[in-house]
């Protein structure tokens, strides 16, 4: 493992060292690598979910013993952080000629949800770190690129990236969770909402609209998710227009 000249926190240093090959050292050649470990872990999680992702199970899948993994990662938490970035190692949506910022941002968000939902276990990882891995920053850069030409301030662009990302994450999580819920939300409401105690909500329930089966699109998302995204994009558009640009 290379040195840490930037004095980054250890996990972040390891995230970035992934991209740099090792120089030869004393001792036996490593038969394992961090890449192999993360690949096996992702495969296992994809097949059996986060609950199956123990150090022992990962090591077994690689044909090694549990403790050997600790030569490569400091802890399981560090491995999880590495997995989050590794799972984002996909093609990133880039601006297309003639496409406006809004269509670009929408595409960026939808694609992010798609990636998240292709690894549902990602959504259950109990730790959060800032999105500073190589892949995470590639995604951020692509999102920022979608906003070029909007005339917004740098800090505003960064906030927008955060807003849209967090929406993508929340909605991906919600979509996945609904898939395993024994009862649709609308039915819960119908059974539980007492008009005397919850009058505003009871009115919505009485409309019957909350009972309708979700209208699922080609991304696996429902109308509510699309609606929320458009509201966010409307809000950003409102700000851009107030700047008298575009």
């Amino acid at each position: 493992m290379s040195e840490n000249p930037l004095e980054l926190p250890p996990t972040v240093a390891r995230l970035w060292a992934l991209a740099e090959p090792e120089s030869p050292r004393r001792g036996p050649r490593p038969a394992l690598s961090l890449e192999a470990i993360t690949a096996a872990a992702i495969e296992l999680a994809d097949e059996e979910g986060l609950g199956a992702l123990s150090m022992a199970r990962i090591a077994e899948r690689l044909g090694f013993t549990t403790m050997s993994l600790y030569r490569y990662v400091a802890s399981k938490d560090e491995l999880l952080a590495l997995l989050m970035d590794a799972a984002a190692d996909t093609d990133v949506p880039r601006p297309v000629a003639g496409e406006d910022w809004r269509d670009g941002m929408r595409r960026w968000a939808l694609h992010q949800m798609e990636v998240l939902m292709s690894h549902p276990w990602l959504l259950q990882i109990p730790i959060i770190g800032p999105p500073v891995g190589p892949n995470a920053l590639r995604w951020v850069d692509a999102g920022v690129a979608m906003l070029s030409g909007t005339g917004l301030e740098p800090w505003e662009k960064m906030s927008i990236i955060g807003l849209v990302s967090s929406y993508a994450l929340s909605e991906a999580r919600l979509t996945i969770d609904q898939g395993s819920e024994p009862m649709p939300f609308g039915r819960y409401l119908r059974l539980l909402v007492d008009p005397k105690k919850l009058p505003a909500l009871a009115e919505l329930v009485a409309s019957g609209q909350l009972d309708e089966p979700p209208d699922i699109d080609e991304y696996g998302l429902d109308a509510s998710t699309r609606f929320g995204l458009e509201r966010i994009l409307d809000g950003i558009q409102s700000l851009i227009e107030s700047r008298g640009i575009q």
Copy 2:
């Protein structure tokens, strides 16, 4: 434990049974209660965080042995679901005369973030269920009440509640996580962003705006969080105005 005439999933049934006293049964009087268990658990989590929240530690705090808790909850996961709803047992912001929908929604969101941030361990709970507990639905009802008079469709109101809630949750989590991060995000970017690989992001970094210390308000929130919330509210406003109401 009372019966389940509505045929709700077990955890949801237990969430709502909290509000109904037990009729006398055979056997010794229970010396424990679900209320006592949840109160002790919240107290322990508030003091020591989610990591300290084992069944053994909760039982010890109550002066009982671990396995006794299982007379009251089916599993630790069920207890966590109950805790999520119990922690939301606070005063709920209600519409105020003369306040418009936008101010109401902002207040609703900010107050939600405040509650979430007062129990940071809530943000780390690895399971998600739909917000169908008694307290969760009280909050939802209050949010819906803020939207009365907007002329929006019931399903649209429900989507907006979801959008604003998920934003509150995301931002509360982000705020808490930043508090324990060894390095500010701006500094990570300055160290890691190579203009050749990440040109759009590098431009933002070069502006210097991402280095500025966060401007924290009385809710403990930064400018970026407030900005994102206003964009969401702008988007909703845009929709309401497009309906020719208000």
